[in-house]
Symmetry: C2
Subunit: 335 residues, 2 copies
């Protein structure tokens, strides 16, 4: 059987996890959450995450600037640290660069990586540089630390929890759509491009939320809120009802969706790469948490649904009505 038929999740869940399970100590957390967790002592756990970006699979060289690529390579990893509620302590950068690259390109790439490193105060402590004839490859690893009692796992969602996100959904997918459809540039496309090409990891939000009572499960939105919520539901053994009309959709995405008859909910649910945090909050703590969050970050903690009992699946609703097909265009959902 070809690997392409097995797919990424098949490879991880059916081959890698069962093969390597036996070596993992009971107090370690391995594959299956946003980061691995190694306990150091009663007050400190060590966490780690790594992501590989391959040219043509994850980016096209003529559609992203080297600065943006450097920024994003680190951002997607910091987002995984954020999803555990952790603080990043160091990063490692491996690059396979094509020999024909200009040194200026590499300098711009490093500038993007460095600017985000500085903003989040994360030192680059190592890595590897090599030649890759057939395309650029980037692998970043980030380590972080967290107090064991603050770790936010995917498996911690409870019945009745409010499902929340820390920022807009679908903008990144909209940005990709603009690139793929060659949509003419405007202030709206610029805003979506920005989300797609230079996503801002919600590290501060993650740490703040991890320190607040009532926050249960957490994950970052990398595959799309639909797919990532399913990870929480599977790990927690719960069901979710999601209200599409509560989704935080930007004005820019609404405008472009109207113009090109996109379905912004579909982009939000399955587009991915938003790198906001998706979390579940105990209903009794939600009002208080949302108010404090608004006060601290000057932006809302958006409630988009509820956790319930039942088999792991998402029920989508729009203004109280069940939605079975998200593939219809914007006009279908227009009020």
């Amino acid at each position: 059987m070809k690997l392409s038929r097995l797919g990424e999740f098949g490879l991880i869940n059916d081959v890698i996890v069962p093969e390597f399970k036996a070596l993992v100590s009971k107090n370690f957390t391995g594959i299956g959450d946003d980061c691995s967790i190694i306990p150091v002592n009663a007050n400190l756990s060590h966490i780690f995450t790594t992501d590989m970006l391959v040219e043509k699979t994850h980016f096209l060289r003529d559609k992203i600037t080297p600065y943006q690529l450097g920024f994003k390579s680190l951002a997607v990893n910091l987002s995984d640290i954020a999803a555990m509620g952790g603080a990043p302590t160091a990063s490692y950068l491996s690059v396979g660069f094509t020999p024909d690259l200009e040194v200026e390109w590499v300098e711009e790439f490093l500038k993007g990586y460095k600017d985000l490193s500085e903003k989040e105060n994360v030192p680059l402590l190592g890595g590897d540089t090599t030649s890759s004839e057939d395309g650029i490859v980037i692998n970043v690893g980030v380590e972080g630390e967290i107090s064991p009692d603050r770790i936010k796992l995917r498996s911690a969602a409870r019945e009745g929890d409010v499902i929340c996100v820390t920022g807009m959904l679908g903008d990144s997918a909209g940005g990709l759509q603009c690139i793929l459809e060659d949509i003419p540039g405007s202030s709206e496309t610029q805003s979506l491009y920005q989300q797609h090409l230079s996503p801002w990891p919600h590290v501060s939000e993650g740490r703040w939320l991890a320190a607040h009572e009532g926050v249960n499960a957490m994950i970052d939105v990398s595959d799309g809120v639909g797919s990532d919520l399913k990870h929480i539901l599977k790990a927690s053994g719960k069901q979710a009802t999601v209200e599409l009309e509560s989704f935080p959709i930007s004005d820019e995405l609404i405008k472009l969706s109207r113009k090109y008859d996109w379905n912004p909910f579909k982009l939000a649910v399955s587009g991915g790469e938003d790198y906001v945090l998706l979390l579940t909050v105990n209903a009794d703590h939600y009002d208080d948490t949302a108010q404090s969050f608004q006060h601290y970050f000057s932006k809302p903690l958006y409630a988009i649904g509820r956790i319930s009992g039942g088999k792991p699946q998402i029920r989508f609703q729009h203004n109280g009505k069940e939605v079975s097909n998200l593939n219809k265009g914007y006009s279908h959902f227009r009020e």
Copy 2:
């Protein structure tokens, strides 16, 4: 300027290190040794290393079995942990696989990776799996731990130290030579292939040496003993005299060198990928250390030269005579 002109060390030393220096805390060790070092407490430091293997640059798919590739991907990283004197605690594996790969190929790759993981008792705690259209890419990261007073740095070589290695030199380069020259198979070529394709990381040796008084600088031999010794000399500000006749060269490499007029010393000095440890030992402690090493590992700790004062360079000698050109064939050095 094209990146190919700047080269790997140029990119690291001239661009990356100066750009990122400011963010590294004073008590952290970043780029410039085999691993990064983050102090945890008085008894524990956390170390980390990462290496990227790219198809065509580091391996040819039809010259290495997937099992060997999996084994080697982890081995080269464990070797860096060994070079610090550390104990590996976890590994992370990112793979970019071409979609046309057979699942059996991937399973064999993972089997090689797992067999070494089991032998060294290192759990796989995470990673990334992705598609890479234009060739296989592998990035492995390994974290480890060590007591701060046992860390072996490149910069610790002292005048008068005996330079030692923990195993044969040049076999891996000889194996590569066999592959490149399509040398017909024999028991000798098999032995060299084994060293080249499935190098055994000297983790136990590294930990044992780190615990022994008198062991100063240490590094693993990945680029060739010439190049790696220079890293020690530069970091320590010292000079070295190396006696080629003391080099541990295997009978197999000698036989093939005779037959094909290779220079085994050249292969040993600049071939690389031996993944033995190269260290300097205080002369007063050398006899005792070598005896205990022989007793514990049932193999010698080979002395190959001496550290002296002076600018960082290596003086090669053969039976007391200066050797200025290592490019001559085997016959030139035959006694």
